[in-house]
Amino acid sequence: MNRTLYLGRKRVGIELRQFFRDRESAIFNFALPMILLVIFGSVFAEQSVGFGDVTFSQYFLAGMIASGVLYTSFQNLAIAIPMEREDGTLKRLQGLPMPKASYFLGKVGLVFVAYIAQVTVLLTVGVLFYGIDLPSSAGKWMTFAWVSVLGLLSCTLLGLAFSVVPKHGRGASAIVAPIVLVLQFTSGVFFVFNQLPSWMQNFASIFPLKWLTQAMRYVFLPDGASAIEVSGSWQLGLCALVLIGWTIGGFILAMLVFRWTPRGSS
């Protein structure tokens, strides 16, 4: 067990170096929310979302932080692991005296560190340039913490599972990015959620992102803004249930389908 943790820690270090040095992954998984925040925040800066003086940039920041969960975990892993399967990374690791759990710990560590760094930058930009108020109550920060953790865990496990779908490392981003984009459009990231058609709202409610954005709005918007939620409330309990459900489901799925070798090489 000690050895698993020791090597897991080593893996986190090496994963982080590779993540930030790989230009594509650093831009696509890490810098993208910041770029989008600057663009959307500038274009729709003062546009109202239908509650008091809450602006779209504030609404959008919550959506970008929720998206950050998806980018650093699901999108990152579902693109990187098919490449690792193809370029020999996973085969090399299999030949080493390394418990397989250390590899997964390395991925979890990478995801958490990348997310924390990303959120820190997003919040700094939001506070400095878009007039976003950080929550003042410890309760909201607690909510922020558990929502982030559950979101990262569920989407990490789903990323591990989904990594078996792309046939080739090179084409992985073309499969994964549209999925993330569709979820963002339907989950209240790019549009105000209660203005979407109800079939779209229902579709989005199946997946974690809708619940993540909603919970992030609870954290970063004034309390009364629940008035513009579809149900008129923040539904934090339901959010927790959905995320726990996806974490359990993602775990089972990842255990069942994760592969160390490319398809067709028994």
Partner: protein, 283 residues
């Protein structure tokens, strides 16, 4: 006890029998080279020994352990150099070698290993900027960092220039001198001749010859081919007593024999003859 022992190993992929009832042994500290055409079953055999693939039948032991059940302690005693990979591109040579040292209970000193494989001046280079030969030497560095008792080398010198290959051979010989058991897969006959104590020729999933490089096939028969020019025509003859033959020839021709050469079959000649003799043109 042998470091590697293989009895009746068979491995199928669907209808294709990749390895067909192969048996061989590699003694402690010995270097065995596996030679054979592409698709002959060399890599499959190696990968079964490394634990990447499971045999359909047969008994395989590496350091006394069935690779199918080889745990982490067993893996810690192996060094594996797979066929060329492109991973670790975003790290430097030094970062990669240091990182891989962490997996092993008693690793070699990373700096010494980097020097030994001749990458001392490249230690701070990103791996994706190394040349083909340098990249391969990094793979070897990662294979030996754990001071393995058994070292698997799968086509280690592909892409090397001749000078780099000779340096590499000297490196492998130093591991042999330390008692490392080596299973070498290669397409280079001179490499096998220089490094291997024994060579096994695999074709069509079977071992068709296994012996010391100097004894393989008909090389031990002492048959030599003598060739010369006589009456403006190229002549040649095969004989098992070339010295006497040349003496007689010199007497008959009255002195210097034009264009005289005495040629003994090289390992390559012998290897190609073995492959050619196969039924059904398996090469």
């Amino acid at each position: 006890m042998n470091a590697i022992s293989v009895r009746g190993l068979t491995k199928r992929y669907g209808d294709l029998v990749a390895v067909n009832d192969i048996s061989f042994e590699v003694g402690q500290g010995e270097c065995l080279a596996l030679l054979g055409p592409n698709g002959a079953g060399k890599t499959t055999t190696t990968e079964v020994l490394e634990g990447f693939r499971h045999a359909d039948s047969g008994e395989v032991r590496v350091l006394g352990v069935d690779p199918r059940h080889g745990g982490l302690d067993w893996k810690a005693r192996l060094g594996i150099v797979l066929q060329a990979d492109r991973d670790l591109g975003d790290l430097t040579v030094r970062e990669a070698v240091r990182h891989f040292a962490a997996y092993f209970p008693s690793p070699r000193d990373p700096e010494e290993v980097i020097e030994a494989v001749g990458l001392g001046s490249k230690a701070k280079s990103r791996n994706d900027r190394l040349s083909g030969g340098q990249r391969r030497r990094l793979d070897v560095a990662l294979g030996i960092i754990g001071s393995p008792e058994v070292l698997f080398l799968d086509e280690p010198t592909t892409g090397f220039d001749p000078a780099a290959r000779r340096e590499f051979w000297a490196l492998i010989e130093s591991f042999k001198a330390e008692g490392t058991t080596i299973l070498l897969t290669t397409h280079y006959l001179d490499e096998a001749e220089r490094l291997a104590d024994r060579v096994a020729v695999i074709a069509g999933g079977r071992i068709i010859a296994c012996d010391r490089p100097s004894q393989l096939g008909d090389r031990s028969d002492g048959i030599a081919r003598v060739s010369w020019i006589e009456d403006g025509r190229e002549r040649q003859s095969t004989t098992d007593s070339p010295t006497a033959y040349v003496l007689a020839l010199a007497q008959r021709l009255g002195g210097e024999v034009p264009q005289l050469s005495v040629h003994r079959p090289t390992l390559e000649d012998t290897y190609l003859a073995l492959i050619d003799d196969l039924p059904g043109g398996e090469s």
